[in-house]
Subunit: 499 residues, 2 copies
């Protein structure tokens, strides 16, 4: 059948693209972990050359032709193929929607803005960044309009769709408004509740990096991280990268504080086991990949926030942590470690934020980036708008732009539409975990005993092994029994932070 | 001018090929140093995909057309361009000389023979390897005939030319016969001389790997290894890899014996500083690369054999080595360390061989591989021929094939024509170093004081910075004042091992 042959040709092409993208991912990983500083520009050229190759393969007219020809049986056993073709179409459409010249201009603008940003952040000098940020935003706007025309979405939704297909600002607006209202009362209650609790006792270091590594590895194994198909290393900014059968997570160690690195490792482990659990028989195919950034984040936050910062987990983990560092005294007991890991404290910096205040940072960025892209907010007015937003959402005002609108690399590197996926991921994580608890007997009891098998099996069969067979929406509905529902997240916060 | 435009197009194409090859080199390095075992097959696919891309670029008809069109001024300032075009022609000709189908068959045969070899070596079972080795040799023979037709060389010389352009078996025959004669008397004299020397005192470990690393790094810095453009890691088989501004050497550590790893690091450092010293303005171009494997080996052997195993170097190094391991007693003094590093002892294994017996291992392999390719030796007869050769050259007979014809990966991986470059490199190293000593005042005295600048400057200006502007033959003549001359190497051996 000609249809099948067209389908097989597409599979071969996407396999080729996937293999090149995996090579790029390893070179990216190496850049952040191993590469000597002097080869930065050679590495940029390697990455640019391979990215162009991959992009050329994805945008070639032959793919359009094959996609026009292909027809797959829309029932029963072929649901995977149907979803695969849909994923091919999405990827191809996104890729061809932006003219090559604009992509090149964007890549150059983003690169140089990132460089300027490092300086601007260091000196807390927003005016220094302004011209190049303005250029990045103008080009991103052009890109969003080009995508908008092909995708039939609003410009901002076209950007959102790049990171999380199917995610729309209409939904986000609703969810974020609800949560802003919720937070306005809840945060005060939490602070009040916390003030009545025993004070946290600080843990005294130094904590040797070797011991931190061993401890992290132990917990990674608990969560099924497969060290024959992955590794953990050190980088300035933690991430989960690599590719098929080769998942590479990173962390950074601080000899004076192990808590943040340890939780970071567990967060990235959540990403890693998702990658490890994707359906093997669909390797390199769109349907064999994770759906988008929000679903990916749901898996890291499920492990980090839902499980590892829970009191149940701390019952299991505290004695292990104590032993790892030969700790003694009340500071190393379950309740104190739990209080340390659930302390709420409104601050200026997103990446240091606790679970309760984190969404406020995201709501702020989401609103500002929409306004920047639609030109309702001028770049010059960003610092003032930022500070007003922080005051309104968290009641604090950054003393300078480094602690304000200069803190994140996302905008200078051209990532608009990415921020909301963090909080959508947090909401989905709460929904998935809530469903798992309902479906599995005594899950929290098991976790307090260090038994993770039933949870990991549940995640694997309900989420990881599905790849992109289901859209995020369908996956949420099937696995959690609900559409995106901020209430479940809010109930989780109430349970954890008011009791 | 159309000529210039053709030349510029070629430069762009070779730049692109060079960038992809550098990406491949980093992925290769990662495979040997970092990659988790479970991703072996994904990595093979990445490497195969990128290699095909690179090969397709190099064999495209457009390159033939451009090479036909290009004309560069053959005088003065354009000598570099002339040499660059010559290098392009060589690379293109080698690449197009073998039909794509044959390359694929070769790559598959080599891969599967390598796998069989691991087992065969472990069990010392040559008959297990035989069928796949036979296939590899048959395909290599086909390749050599295909190359032969395009290059106008004999089949075996076409293979040699792949690793060291311009190297011919006529020269090697002459050099190796001379050296075989030399060795037949010399080896006995050395053993006799050695027996009259004080016994070497063994160094008692364990030697912590951290200390070994620090010591290796210290000596690497002495030889100008640029850590902003390179790094050192651990792999099963030491090598020098990586690419532009990113030279990656490896070693393996043994807690019971630091001497072999330390000298290995210095050997690879010799390769590394060659790569670091290649002409920057010709990056990614044939003329900006090293000429071939023999010239590359001359630089590693110059550092290792000529310099670092010399008595002068040991005067400098012994106190540093002693301090590094907090050693005490006569074992750690200059003379004992020098004797340890220049001990001659005929053995079965090439990679463990000393400077005196090493060429015998190479002579044996060279003669056998020529006979295998020309079909004068049947694969089935290899073990017997090997053992007879060892008996004749070194007076010892391997008790099994693991210690005999199964020891090296070269033939199972399809590398025929590579072995001779080790000894041609050793000869060239002796010639270069002899010239440097004549041209630089008190070089050995400087080395005994840890002053390497004048030597490094000499190597840089006479060899490294030349790239492939000169052929190996021209380079030898220009830098050493002589054609390839085994006598210089033999004199070096006589000075070192009989005094």
């Amino acid at each position: 059948m000609p249809e099948n042959s067209a389908y097989n040709d597409l599979v071969d092409l996407f396999r080729r693209i996937g293999i090149i993208n995996d090579a790029i991912a390893i070179l990216d990983w190496d850049q952040s972990t191993m590469m000597p500083e002097g080869s930065a520009s050679s590495r940029s050229e390697q990455l640019a050359t391979l990215s162009v190759l991959s992009h050329d393969l994805l945008t070639q007219p032959k793919i359009s032709e094959l996609l026009d020809k292909v027809e797959v049986n829309n029932g029963g056993i072929d649901a995977w193929k149907v979803a695969n073709v849909a994923g091919m179409k999405r990827a191809h459409l996104h890729a061809i929607s932006v003219p090559a010249g604009l992509i090149k201009a964007q890549s150059q603008a983003n690169s140089s803005c990132q460089m300027e940003w490092r300086k601007a952040k260091q000196e807390s000098d927003f005016s220094f960044l302004m011209p190049s940020l303005k250029e990045v935003i103008e080009i991103t706007r052009e890109v969003s309009i080009a995508k908008s025309e092909k995708l039939g979405l609003s410009p901002y939704d076209s950007l959102l769709d790049t990171y999380e297909p199917g995610c729309r600002s209409e939904t986000i607006d609703e969810v974020f408004s609800d949560h802003e209202n919720f937070l306005s009362g809840f945060l005060g209650e939490v602070m009040e509740f916390q003030s009545r609790q025993p004070k946290t006792i600080p843990l005294k270091g130094p904590f040797s990096i070797d011991k931190q590594k061993r401890l992290g590895t132990e917990f990674m194994k608990d969560f099924g991280f497969d060290f024959t198909r992955g590794r953990v290393d050190v980088s300035l900014h933690p991430f989960c990268g690599g590719g098929l059968n080769d998942v590479r997570i990173t962390t950074r160690y601080d000899e004076n504080d192990f808590t943040s690195s340890l939780m970071g490792v567990l967060h990235e482990t959540g990403h890693a086991i998702y990658e490890h659990g994707l359906p093997e028989s669909w390797s390199y195919q769109p349907v064999g990949s994770a759906w988008g950034m929000a679903m990916h984040e749901s898996q890291s936050l499920l492990v980090e926030m839902q499980v590892c910062r829970s009191h149940s987990f701390m019952i299991y983990a505290a004695p292990i942590i104590k032993r790892a560092f030969s700790g003694s005294g009340a500071a190393w007991e379950v309740d104190n470690l739990y209080r340390l890991y659930t302390r709420v404290n409104p601050g200026f910096i997103r990446v240091d934020a606790d679970e309760v205040t984190y969404p406020a940072h995201i709501i702020l960025r989401y609103r500002l980036e929409r306004a920047l892209i639609s030109n309702d907010l001028l770049v010059a007015d960003l610092p003032v708008a930022w500070n007003e937003g922080m005051a309104s959402l968290l009641g604090i005002t950054p003393p300078n732009d480094s602690l304000g609108c200069l803190q994140d690399i996302h905008w200078p590197s051209g990532s608009f539409g990415y921020f909301p996926t963090y909080t959508i991921g947090a909401v989905a994580a709460a929904q998935f975990y809530s469903a798992a608890k309902k479906q599995l007997n005594d899950l929290e009891d098991e976790i307090s005993k260090g038994k993770f098998k039933s949870l990991l099996d549940w995640l694997h069969s309900n989420i990881h092994s599905k790849g992109s067979l289901l859209s995020a929406e369908e996956l949420l509905l099937t696995a959690s029994g609900n559409n995106l529902n901020i209430k479940v997240f809010q109930e989780h916060l109430q349970r954890r932070y008011l009791h």
